[in-house]
Every structure is written in structure tokens, then in C-alpha cells.
Subunit: 174 residues, 4 copies
């Protein structure tokens, strides 16, 4: 089972739409997958699911259990202020110890409205994931200027399509 | 006005206690300062103060206005999973655009129970702050093994005391 | 005195040409400056000026003394393999201890033929410079797709010109 | 074939001694390996093997061909100024295009006399390797305070031994 994480809690986000698109690409290659959308996080999870409340929020636990059941993870990472969304990291901070990421394998796709393609965000996330014992696929496509290159349903930029195809082949073999 | 940010929403955190200690050091040098404790964030701020709700949460706005009124900021940065706390970044993601950080000056103090002293977290934060136009002081003390080196009221490690003193002198001149 | 470092030893590099252009911008603002071109490094400096030979190579010492005499430094940083040129870091590794960078102020300009604009390289360099006690200006223009935006003598992209102008004003006040 | 890279050109380095030790650990597990010591780089390689001279230096080519013949690489990474040695990056800058690292797998061991264990250096290197298409093992042991924990022939710190053993098992399965 591959889990695709839509790494923002912004409602009805472009990131989520690209996660849906990525799911169709995986399914075309015969891969079973599910989507974990951080928009489903409880509104108060930064207090009700962290620290002394770790593990006590059922809605949070439902999401975190999706991580545990996966062998591979794909993070759709929008660029927020030259790093990853704080909400993604707060979600990670609320996961169990020892980390459910340990010895799993992850891929990332960077998404940005500007020209950077979330490259720095993915570098920071790599530091976090490697620390937690999760291997990261080298190929990290940067989908920059996303409003010009995604029509709401599919990626329209040919180079981006090729990068995603290459990533998926690498991920299956990883 | 210097604002010290306690960069976690963990209740009654060591980070907050060190922020209090740092405030006394600043006051001894004649510097006016205040503490912004992220434990005061509204429980639901990741939905009620972000995206379409940006600017609509009064309790959040009270905290963000402390940033606006400051000329210099000092971030107490605990190490969470080899980076900064997600809650700190979510707070930053909720600030106004253009950023209230622009052209301000920041210092950071890394705090960890382990031996790394939050060095990677401060590197990631520097990427974020520089992107938003805030200059970062080079001196970033790493207070590692904090439970051995802080007694709840003051830093007991002489080297750490010297590093903080040097940082404060640099910050005043910055 | 402001020293502009052309951060590659590639002969007759675009980086050097942009360093020359930057010098004219500084001079127009009444700033005294000089250029340190790493193309002037001795061919064998990685052995003749490092480790036990530190300080023994006169040609290397002439270059490193340009650092010592400067109050502010501006690094022109081409992107090599998603980081800074190895030669720049080897030059830094050969400098005296304690570092001549300590308490100095630096600015950086990223240069790339591709679309990234050397952003990751400048992040890595910031880690190095901050560690050595040198403050880094927040504004780090990324001059991407350089062959389309520099005619050999001057920057032709209006946005890039504005970013460089803003940087220089910030640097003078830094 | 696994190639262990001693990532500095410092003559008779501790890094090289640890590379030798690591080789014995690999051999005990039945793994064939060889050591690529950057101390064998030609003195003038930063001019004679880069840019227009790429591929023209026989001594350099002999070293780079060791990369090509390997399926997996292990980098022994000493900490120089809060990053990797410049000489390592200059060696990488001199390798062929497209990169011989593409689709290979790498592990890293951080080495430092101080307490950081070269963690930032390994983060920077991960950015470079992932960009060049090489996957990086999550486990990156940080061998800090090396003079107390390595007797010239073997690692004497039990935790470090366990971390290296775990890394080697992960590397074989990677």
C-alpha cells in the first residue's frame, strides 16, 4: 500500500488535486494507493494530539494509522515561506515514538506558485525523514508555476509528466 | 523593543523557562523586552487563523501584533524531529503578507535534550527568515543536553552562559 | 572596503563578468571595492595551502589577505551540482584560524544557467558563514537562466536589476 | 562492489583510518570493497581536471573510474567549517556529465573532532547526491569527538559500533 500525503490543511487545495492526479498515475501502473489529506486533521490537533495528549485524539489516530499501514509514502509538498507547511511538521510531531516512518520509503513532489518548486522545503523534509529512519527517493520533481502547468485535473506540462513518470518507476523499484 | 519567542505550544515548556531566563539577561543589559509564548495560540489556529481566515482570529492577531511592534526578535528553538516545531512554522504561515519580519533582525537559541542542540532546526529557520527578508545573527548558541545544563531558572553551564552573553552583545549591536 | 568574490576558478567565467558588473554598481553608489577572483588561486592550492601547508603559499596568502582587509564581502555564487563550487569551499578551508570572516558581513548573489538560481548553494554557504561568525544579508538574489539575462557586460532583466539595487542599498546599511 | 570514499585530501587522515576500519567491517559481512582516498588526487586537479580539462587528467580519471565501477558508495565525511571538505565537492564537480552517481546508492558516516558529528555536512551532501540522482541511506551515524572514540585502528565507543553495524546491514539491503 502506497499512501499519498496531501501536506497542507488548506481546504480544497491544489495540492490535494495533484494528489488525486498522482493516485491515478499510480493506479495505471497497478499500484494500490490511498490519500491522506491533512485537511482532515482535527481543528485543535496541535493541542489535543500533541505532548501529553499524544495518542488521545481518535480523528488524529485514524490519520496516523494510515502511515503505519503503508510501506511507501509520497508527499505532495507545497512551498510555504521557503519551507514545508507548518501543519505537516506539526502532524509529524504528533506521531508515535518510535516513529512509524522508520525503515519506510518516501518520495516527494514539490509544488509552488512561484519558480522555486519547493526545492528547499523538500531538502528540509529530507533532513527530518532521514533522522526518523525513512529513506528518501533521490528524484524530487519540482512543479513550479503550478497554475500554468496543472489544469485542476491533470498536469499539462510535458516535462513535468515525464518527471512524475520517472519518479513512479523509481518508487516502485525503491 | 525585543520580543523573545518561545517557539513551542507545549504547556509549561523548558523552552518557555529559558525564554524567561533570557529576558532577565536582556534586562540586566538595559534592554526592554517581552515574551511571545506560542502556548498562548488558540487551540484551533491552524484553521481559524490561516488561509481564508487569515487575520480573523483576535487571539492570534494579538500575538502577531507583538511581532509587528518589535525591532528585533529572539527565537528560542527546541529541536523537534531534527527541525523546528511544526507549530512555530504554522504560526509563521499565518502571519500577514507582506511579512512583518521584513527588514527586522533575528537571533536564535537552539535547545535540545539530545546532543545536537537544534542546529539543523536553526539552519532551516534561517532559510525561512532570510526568504522573508529578516536578517539573522550569525551566533546561534546550541544548548544541548539541556536537562543537565538548565536548573529550571538559570543556565548552569559556564560555556553556555558565555555564548548567551556574547550573543546578546552582538544582538544589541546588530 | 567591500570585496567581491568571484566564487569559481573557471577561467574567464560568467561569474567573474557579473562580479565586474556588480563592482560598477557599487562604484556608482560611491562604494570602494575590489574583486577577488578564485581563478587566481595557485593550481596546487589544495595541497600547497591546506593542512600542514596552511599559510605557506604566498600566492594564496595574497588572496586571503584581501578578505582580512575587507569589512564587507559579496559572494557571486554559481550553482555547481546543487551547491556551491567545491573550489570556493576549499579556499575557505585554507583560511586562517580563527576565521578572518568573524564578525564581518556578507551578501550573496546566486547565478545559474538553469532555473534554480543557486538558492540551495546560498543556503549551504549561509550555514558555513554563520558558523564562522559572519552575518549574512537576508536578500540573496537568484539570477537564474543567466545566459538570457546577462549580455556579458550587464544584467538585462529588469527584475534582476531591481533585486541587485535593493541588495546594494541593504548592504550599505547592514 | 562497494567503494568507500575517504572524503579529504589531508595526508594520513583520521578519516582514511576510519575508512580502513569500515572496510574490515564490510569484509566481515562478506562484502567486496575498495577505498578511494582523495589524498590520491593530483595536486593541480582543480585546474587540470575541471572545466575545459574535464576528462583529460589520467590520475583523476583513475579515481573517478572507481565510482563508475561501484554499485554502492560509502562516504566518510569529516566536518570542515560546518560542511563537507571543499576538496570532496571539487572532486564531484570534476566528474563526468551525466553523473556517474545516477541511480546509485550511497551511505555516509560523519566524523568530527567537535560535538556536531558532521551532521550539517551530511545534509548538504544529501542535497548534492539527490540532485545527481543518487539515493541516500537514512542512517547517517555521527561520530563526534572522534579522538576519544577511535584509537587509530578501531572505534572504541560501543554506541558508535552499533550504529555502524546497523548502517552496514541497512546498506546491504538497500
Amino acid at each position: 500500500m502506497i499512501t499519498i500525503i496531501s501536506s497542507t490543511n488548506r481546504p480544497a487545495s491544489v495540492t490535494r488535486a495533484i494528489a488525486d492526479y498522482y493516485a491515478t498515475l499510480l493506479q495505471e501502473k497497478g499500484q494500490e494507493c490511498q490519500i491522506l489529506d491533512l485537511a482532515a486533521l482535527p481543528d485543535d490537533f496541535t493541542t489535543s494530539a500533541l505532548y501529553d495528549n499524544s495518542g488521545k485524539n481518535e480523528q488524529f489516530n485514524k490519520l496516523s494509522s494510515m502511515i503505519k499501514k503503508s510501506e511507501k509514502l509520497v508527499f505532495m509538498v507545497p512551498e510555504y515561506n521557503n519551507s514545508y507547511p507548518g501543519v505537516l511538521k506539526a502532524f509529524i510531531d504528533g506521531l508515535d515514538y518510535p516513529s512509524p516512518f522508520k525503515n519506510k520509503k518516501a518520495a516527494m513532489v514539490g509544488i509552488s506558485s512561484g519558480i522555486q518548486g519547493s526545492g528547499m522545503a523538500m531538502s528540509h523534509l529530507t533532513d527530518v525523514f532521514n533522522y526518523l529512519g525513512m529513506h528518501v527517493l533521490a528524484q524530487k520533481p519540482r512543479l513550479a508555476l503550478i497554475s500554468k502547468n496543472f489544469d485542476g485535473l491533470k498536469i499539462t506540462n510535458k516535462l513535468y509528466q515525464e518527471l512524475l513518470d520517472e519518479q513512479i518507476e523509481q518508487l516502485i523499484a525503491f
